[in-house]
């Protein structure tokens, strides 16, 4: 009634608007989206410099910005006998390089309107520069210092070592971090590289010094392992000239560091096992459930992504709709396969209210088993397929997005052309495929279960579920 009289009022003042169309609009039916735009992957021009540096250029002229990303094959998997070395070394690369110390270097970068970051993942090191094209010359000079002439001064190594020791200690305060570390220690046994934290432990950190860091750098960061990805408002010829001028004469000496062979397999359990870490008075319990995962190059990859989107990879996934929406146990529940050069873990996780810790575990296992036991309805599979496929154009929006995709894919020997191939593979996934990969890759009866919470309140309930043998790990054992 009120609505009608107000709408009638609109007729008088609504001169610029078409009132007839407002009346004609039938809101009982959702608009059918039109045809989606085709996924267009930008061309990548590849050049290999004589010293072995690979250059990949993507022209993108919307904004006068350039993203330059040096992606060096290696990363944490080179740590060997020195846990945490790769991330420590990479973090130090921009803490002084060329003639500048840490503060002076960042001052210069910021003055140029640029941002520069360094880091290490499991499979690579990254030096990334984002800069307005106008100041890309002097900014690239700084990036060249960081990549080829890092200082690793004794002062800076000691300072960063002490900071890392302090930060490692603070990890104990964060239950999500504690759960993740405990989970990796339980799924990957001692001797497997993924057993360890990428940040190492206090003992390995305490032994860091300038000479060790430099030796690791010399063996790990080398032209033949380096790809420089340039994306932005620059031509292929300009990029080739700018990169060759600065990185073309880069030479290294000494022996390259080899990737240690993984001789210890991930833990394949015969039955599930529970690991508990006490956090007195915790308002929530952090739950991680999982097992060793899958190779990124598996032919099951597309089906696996569809299956995980349904299980815990989207807002409307079963884990989230159950634990968050239906039961109100959590602010969010999720699952995912982590991909690395060697298979990373699968993990399903949530932070849940302390007094429903056991009930939450029941729901996790119900959903994991249901994915295997019951074929997913076709419309649910279709929604997941659309979600995965149609969001792909948005993954190539910014220069940083494009460079990140190129770097991520090349870890597995893939190119941007993988994206349309993935889209096509997703189209072909059937409910039967989803069930097949669920049965193959979800192993809830051989799970590693980690709970970080107030054990005085939650332990009895967890034990009563008889998920498997349980043991308590001290937080000081998990975060060493």
């Amino acid at each position: 009634m009120i609505r009608q009289s107000l709408v009638a009022g609109l007729l008088l003042v609504g001169a610029p608007f078409s009132v007839t169309s407002a009346q004609a609009f039938d809101r009982t039916k959702a608009p059918k989206p039109g045809k989606p735009a085709r996924l267009v992957v930008p061309p990548v021009t590849t050049t290999i410099l004589p010293n072995g540096v690979t250059l990949k250029v993507v022209e993108q002229h919307e904004l006068p910005l350039v993203q330059v990303m040096a992606d060096i094959d290696g990363g944490v998997r080179l740590d060997g006998s020195h846990p945490g070395m790769a991330t420590f070394m990479a973090g130090l690369m921009d803490d002084g390089a060329g003639s500048r110390d840490a503060a002076a270097l960042q001052a210069e970068v910021a003055y140029l309107g640029a941002s520069l970051s360094t880091g290490a993942s499991w499979d690579g090191f990254t030096v990334a520069l984002k800069v307005p094209v106008r100041s890309s010359g002097p900014a690239l000079d700084l990036m060249a210092d960081v990549l080829m002439r890092p200082s690793f001064s004794a002062t800076e190594v000691r300072r960063q070592r002490d900071l890392r020791l302090a930060n490692t200690r603070q990890l104990r305060d964060r239950p999500e971090s504690v759960a993740g570390l405990a989970f990796n220690q339980a799924v990957f046994p001692e001797g497997h590289p993924y057993h360890r934290a990428t940040g190492g432990d206090s003992a390995s950190t305490a032994s860091m010094d300038s000479a060790r860091v430099r030796a690791f750098y010399n063996g790990a960061v080398r032209p033949e392992r380096t790809t420089i990805i340039v994306v932005g408002d620059i031509t292929v010829a300009q990029a080739r000239s700018a990169i060759t001028q600065r990185f073309g004469s880069w030479r290294t000496s000494g022996e390259p560091l080899a990737t240690p062979v993984i001789s210890t397999p991930a833990t394949v359990r015969t039955s599930s096992r529970v690991f508990l870490v006490d956090k007195p008075d915790a308002a929530q319990s952090v739950i991680n459930i999982g097992w060793p995962g899958v190779d990124r190059r598996s032919t099951d990859y597309a089906a696996l992504m569809v299956m995980n989107t349904i299980l815990g990879g989207s807002f409307t996934s079963r884990l989230n709709m159950n634990l968050r929406e239906a039961k109100g146990y959590s602010y969010g529940a999720r699952s995912g396969f982590t991909f690395r050069r060697a298979p990373g873990p699968f993990v399903a996780s949530a932070s849940v209210r302390t007094n429903v810790t056991d009930s939450s575990l029941v729901e996790f296992f119900t959903e994991l088993r249901r994915m295997r036991d019951v074929r997913v309805p076709a419309d649910e599979v279709e929604r997941a397929k659309n979600y995965l496929e149609l969001q792909l154009p948005g993954d190539l929006e910014s220069t940083t997005d494009v460079a990140g995709q190129v770097a991520d894919l090349q870890t597995y020997g893939l190119s941007l052309g993988e994206l349309p191939r993935f889209a096509a593979a997703v189209r072909l996934v059937t409910p039967a495929d989803v069930q097949r990969v669920a049965r193959k890759y979800l192993t809830p009866d051989q799970a590693t279960v980690v709970v970080v919470g107030d054990l005085a309140k939650v332990r009895a309930g967890i034990d009563a579920l008889k998920l498997g043998e349980s043991e308590v790990w001290d937080v000081a054992r998990v975060v060493k």
Partner: protein
């Protein structure tokens, strides 16, 4: 058009120690503004670089509009908005968007509640239809069960972000110490558990009828769209939603901060000190200068507090300053985490000394230009994303009534002088403040005190 103008702007960025001034081309992000007869405002910006679109709806209501005893309600209501409406029953809001390749989210702060969708540009009609339905037809299907479900989820969000986070209680403790009792900014946006428990179905209905009306909403659409077709679609879908009542906004009285020292114990390994001062509201003449002060203190490794506390004296693992200018008022905030074994008075002394030095000497020309360039670069990088652009258009329109405030914002930073920096540090950071120490259980002796121990 955007490309050409921005190119010139960025060219001048790095090379000019001072802003090029009048002859510099103006940065423009063209956007149309329309207001429907029911009061709904529509802003459209075209960007065809990738085939995606961002839709962004702001309702001009936040935690600052809440009543005593109902803290956290604006944010709880944001959650309730996803529980389905008459023509799109739960959980179709999410299932339909995901089936179109789109994602969505919502955020609430002190002043406004924002709803976002982003995805392929062909999904725009669906996004608008869903937003129209919950703007006009939320209540027919609203019930106690929906409210209770989201209340539980919000309490879990609070547990995850406050109770179960180290130092999480700072968000509960600082606002009521800084702002006087009853001031709209004197409570945490997420609210208290007791007030969340007290929220009723009648509260939901009353809040919706008052604040969730077209005359209290602004829609921004940015992306690979045609402006005219967006206008037509919005008119078709939103025109018959009735205008709501006029809204009485809070008008807090002026106040002076009471100098306050607080200590809280938490399950943490190392202590952390927080300081908050009374700042300025957004678009105040000193807002840009205070943003720059935050950078000059902790924005980079060579900046005052970071350099002294983390690099030279090595008393802290990290220090962060930020200016929080909001619609009605503002605050300037800082926190620093101690190195193991350090007493928070050591950190406090260093902070006081560096603030006094910045107030007395001001920044060097080089420092100030670095701060301006860094802030501008961060700002320009965000223009690559249609989501971020849509959010900026909303912010500018909210604050000034004009969506394309990009160049004006850059100008505000360029106009700040070293003397301005000295003046605002003296005016705002040397007055009374809230000093909060969060220390490990049983370690109150590590807390900072009002008078530093020499």
């Amino acid at each position: 058009m955007l490309t050409r103008l921005m190119r010139s702007l960025l060219f001048s960025l790095a090379l000019s120690p001072l802003w090029a001034g009048a002859q510099s081309p103006r940065l423009r992000v063209p956007a149309t503004v329309d207001t429907l007869p029911n009061g709904l405002t529509l802003i459209v910006h075209e960007d065809h670089s990738v085939p995606t679109v961002a839709t962004n709806v702001w309702y001009l209501v936040g935690s600052g509009d809440e009543k005593v005893g109902r803290t956290g309600f604006a944010h709880l209501f944001e959650h309730v908005m996803f529980m389905g409406s008459q023509h799109a029953p739960y959980p179709e809001f999410d299932t339909r968007l995901e089936a179109s390749g789109s994602s969505n989210n919502g955020t609430t702060d002190e002043d406004r509640t924002a709803y976002y969708e982003w995805g392929p540009s062909n999904a725009l009609p669906l996004m608008l239809w869903l937003e129209a339905d919950r703007m006009g037809w939320l209540l027919p299907t609203m019930d106690q069960a929906k409210l209770d479900a989201q209340r539980d989820i919000v309490k879990n969000e609070r547990r995850q972000g406050v109770e179960n986070q180290p130092y999480g209680i700072s968000g509960d403790l600082i606002p009521p110490a800084l702002y006087p009792k009853g001031h709209p900014y004197s409570w945490n946006v997420i609210g208290s558990m007791a007030d969340l428990s007290a929220a009723s179905l009648d509260d939901v209905k009353g809040f919706f009828r008052t604040y969730y009306a077209p005359n209290n909403a602004v829609i921004v659409v940015a992306g690979a769209v045609k402006t005219d077709s967006v206008r037509r679609a919005v008119r078709r879908m939103f025109s018959d939603i009735p205008r709501g009542p006029s809204i009485t906004r809070p008008t807090p009285a002026p106040f002076t901060v009471r100098d306050t020292v607080m200590v809280a114990e938490d399950r943490v390994q190392v202590p952390r000190v927080y300081m908050s001062w009374h700042g300025v509201k957004s678009m105040h003449a000193d807002e840009a200068a205070l943003d720059l002060v935050a950078y000059l203190l902790t924005g980079a490794r060579n900046m005052r507090l970071t350099n002294t506390m983390v690099y030279q004296d090595e008393v802290a693992t990290g220090v962060t300053a930020y200016n929080g200018s909001k619609k009605l008022d503002g605050d300037f905030n800082l926190f620093a985490t101690a190195r193991p074994g350090k007493n928070l008075n050591e950190l406090r002394q260093t902070i006081d000394r560096e603030i006094a030095r910045l107030a007395a000497e001001g920044p060097t020309a080089r420092e100030l230009q670095q701060a301006r360039n860094a802030i501008e670069a961060g700002f320009l990088n965000r223009l690559e994303s249609v989501n971020a652009k849509a959010d900026r258009l909303q912010s500018y329109y909210f604050a000034t009534g004009k969506p394309d405030g990009f160049q004006d914002e850059l100008d505000r930073y360029q106009r700040v002088s070293a003397d301005d920096i000295k003046r605002v540090v003296n005016t705002y950071l040397k007055g009374p403040r809230v000093l909060l120490s969060i220390v490990p259980m049983g370690k109150k002796e590590l807390a900072a005190t009002r008078e530093a121990i020499q």
